[in-house]
């Protein structure tokens, strides 16, 4: 009897352990179908800004480094075609050893010549070639290819962000011979070393890739192929997941979609969630009175009850966490307890609003002062956040009208025209969680066209430079905290609303994909597999 019981328990235990093990063993085959709410304008990574390019095209390429696909913070660089690297003691030279046997889809071997040509196109583009990320690599003095399997970057000054910048998902490794013949060839063609080869792009409809049988990372990819469906309508994307015409979408769904899909599909659907490296900001035009007065700007921040908004707005919009200058939960982010000490982040909202009223009075702003808040004509999450902001400011005696401007005309008619607005919604989205990229926006306007507060703050500029050049993490953290305090508290140059929140739906058959805070990351699909 005892033997039988032990045997039974052993079988049960074996079964219990076997289920997760079996579920975690990657299976080969299948086609991953996913929707993409946008479409690539061209096929050239270094030229474009939209995730509509990354989602269908990234699986065709490798980059020198990539962000670790298993890292939920999206901050840890690992080698992609770089096997290893060394950093000189003066932090001015980075030398990378490349993997051998990496082949382009046409069979030619990839060497350092290709890496150099790809990076030269980004950092030192010839005349007439647009490279939107050239500014990210101002630190680079030279790119060298001393032998076919070594690539070397020489820097002008030390940079704490350099490795992360090489993990940019945009920096596809192109073929040097093709670039030498035609710098624009990659705008309309695909030729990479990635896990999937190109099959077809039917404009406005879909993109198809199939497994690269000669992929250098033996055993990968697991999928036979993938199919990206370009679907603009959000309701159609949700219907596609529900009807199992699409297995996932890599940008985000809303909390309402999550609830509806869970109710309809039960255990056939699962979700991954993360803070999102995107945030709506309030740009306060410093060239306009009374917004040139920091007391008024601080009052605008003090009026906001961010902590309660985090609870309420997260139920209806793609926002959630209260944030400073870095994505909550990532290595450089300020912990909530410290954040609560900054202006506008105090947990006691009554005290905060009393201070806001006092500051407004002191600055000579009368009760019922009216101004217009300009907003971009994009419903989610601009609309709910604008309503929230206006309501919050009303509670400290300000009368705010909203003016919604069509999305395509917004920058040209509002943000880029300092005479056109007082206070306006602004937007920042990062392709990798890295302070250099995330806080560049806030340095003085004469150094950065994208600063729509139109202010000059040399202290902030200096702090930016210091944190960027700090190679010691603790030192960099210190500068970042100082930067944050000056930007959001002392000067209140810009206001943060709430961090966006990513909700990725996945059919229960989809495995091997880890969400990160950026919808530009982790799209090579080499680790993804489908259960039968």
């Amino acid at each position: 009897m005892m033997k039988q019981l032990v045997g039974f328990l052993a079988v049960v235990a074996g079964a219990l352990f076997a289920i997760p093990l079996q579920a975690q063993t990657p299976q080969y085959g299948g086609e991953l179908v996913f929707t993409v709410p946008s479409e690539p304008p061209s096929y050239d990574g270094p030229r474009e800004q939209t995730f509509g390019l990354i989602h269908p095209i990234a699986p065709h390429y490798n980059t020198l480094l990539r962000v670790d696909p298993t890292d939920p913070t999206g901050t840890k660089p690992i080698g992609d075609i770089a096997e290893s690297w060394t950093e000189s003691s003066d932090h001015l030279t980075f030398t990378f050893k490349l993997r051998r046997g990496v082949k382009f889809h046409d069979g030619d071997e990839m060497t350092s010549k290709d890496v150099k040509a790809s990076y030269d196109k980004i950092i030192f583009p010839p005349e007439g070639v647009a490279s939107v990320r050239k500014a990210t690599y101002l630190v680079v003095k030279e790119v060298e290819a001393p032998d076919p399997y070594t690539i070397r970057f020489k820097l002008k000054w030390p940079s704490g962000a350099f490795l992360q910048s090489l993990a940019s998902p945009w920096n596809f490794i192109y073929k040097a011979d093709i670039l030498a013949k035609d710098m624009h060839w990659y705008e309309s063609h695909i030729m990479g070393t990635g896990p999937f080869t190109f099959v077809e792009h039917v404009k406005g409809s879909h993109w198809v890739g199939k497994k690269n049988p000669n992929y250098w990372d033996k055993g990968k990819p697991y999928l036979d192929g993938y199919r990206a469906l370009f679907v603009r309508s959000h309701s159609a994307q949700v219907a596609a997941v529900r009807g199992e015409r699409s297995l996932t979408q890599f940008r985000s769904f809303t909390p309402a979609d999550k609830e509806a899909l869970t109710n309809a599909m039960g255990d056939k659907i699962k979700f991954q969630e993360s803070a999102w490296d995107c945030i709506l900001l309030v740009a306060i035009n410093h060239t306009k009175k009374p917004f040139d007065d920091k007391r008024v700007r601080r009052a605008l921040s003090l009026a906001l009850d961010r902590w309660s908004a985090a609870e309420t707005l997260s139920k209806i919009a793609i926002v959630k966490d209260v944030a400073g200058i870095q994505v909550p939960g990532t290595p450089w982010a300020t912990p909530p307890e410290e954040l609560k000490k900054l202006t506008g982040y105090w947990p006691d909202i009554d005290k905060s609003r009393a201070e806001a009223r006092r500051l407004l009075k002191e600055a000579g702003v009368p009760e019922g002062f009216t101004f217009t808040f300009y907003n971009r004509g994009t419903p989610m999450p601009y609309e709910p956040l604008a309503i929230w902001l206006i309501d919050q400011w009303r509670q400290v005696g300000l009368n705010v009208k909203q003016q919604v401007v069509e999305a395509a005309a917004y920058y040209g008619t509002v943000l880029r025209k300092p005479d056109a607005f007082d206070v306006a919604m602004d937007f920042q989205c990062g392709y990798i969680v890295e302070p250099d990229l995330d806080i560049y926006k806030f340095i003085s306007h004469d150094k950065n066209d994208d600063n729509y507060g139109y202010y000059t703050d040399r202290v902030l500029d200096e702090l930016y430079e210091k944190q960027s050049r700090a190679t010691d993490a603790a030192e960099r953290t210190r500068y970042l905290r100082q930067f944050e305090r000056r930007l959001l508290d002392e000067e209140a140059h810009y206001l943060m609303t709430l961090q966006w929140h990513r909700i990725i739906p996945q059919n229960a058959r989809v495995h091997g994909w880890q969400i990160t805070p950026s919808h530009y990351l982790n799209n090579q699909l080499d680790t993804v597999w489908l259960s039968k």
């Binding site: 406005g204 603009r232 009807g243 920058y411």
Partner: protein, 317 residues
Amino acid sequence: MTHYILKRFLLMFPTLFGVAVLIFLLLRVVPGDIVEVRFMAQGQYSSEAVMAIERAKLGLDKPLWQQFTTWMWGLLHLDFGVSMWTGAPITEELKLRFELSLQLAIMATVVATLLAIPLGILAAVKQDTWIDYAVRVFSIAGLAMPSFWLGILMILAMLIIFKWLPPMVFTSFWVNPWENLAQLIWPALAVGYRYSAVATRMMRSAMLEVLREDYIRTARAKGLWLKLILSRHALKNAMLPVITVIGLEFAFLMGGLVVTEQVFSLNGLGMLFVEAISHRDYTLTQALVLIVASVFIFVNFATDIAYAWLDPRIRYR
């Protein structure tokens, strides 16, 4: 008749030229440009220098008259140019979408015509009976329900009841008719129903008017069969306004099904139109406006000829 057709045909060209000038100028008046949309809409950093390179590449730094003459010169050679957004030839952008939109427009027109003409005649002949009331309710319901809303209901019904969703990728009818119809039949029904509602009401009122004419009374007095009166004497005359409605609706369907295309995730001209405008893709928008205008003008031309065929008085006027 030949003189009439030739006159109507030649009138098409100045109309198209007027449309071309108008759309070229209107697009330049609308705020925002393609470079801003391309480099700034994603919330990432873009310098003025990069945007200047792109503007120069697209020819947006040239004076307006030069942009216009370049475009017109291309048009004279039947060259629409390339899309500013994708860099692909506009003919390539249009090819697939045109096939889908044309097929959908034809299918919706067939659905509408098959419903509208018999129902309109029936309602007129059986005026003020329960049949007339039923047809009127059916057609007013069609007018009241936007086709995209009906589309949403259809999709929800398919998802909830049959756990099935129509295919999301367009397959040409000539490649796989079943897959093609499985995708397009639903939007054709949704659009065709609304379309039929307009035509049914028009058919009914036109038929009622014709049935009160003296020559119909005379035909009845002669003892002709009702079927013969309707088909030979009444229908031809009552069809005139219905043909106008069907023609105009058909032209509208070629580029105006924006929301329905979104709901059913169709890769048609309507969606392309919206994207071209929201991207400020001048060349593509101009080409699309010209195509839709050409369809309207051609349909009007065909309607005029049909009028002349149906009513000899028109061709001799």
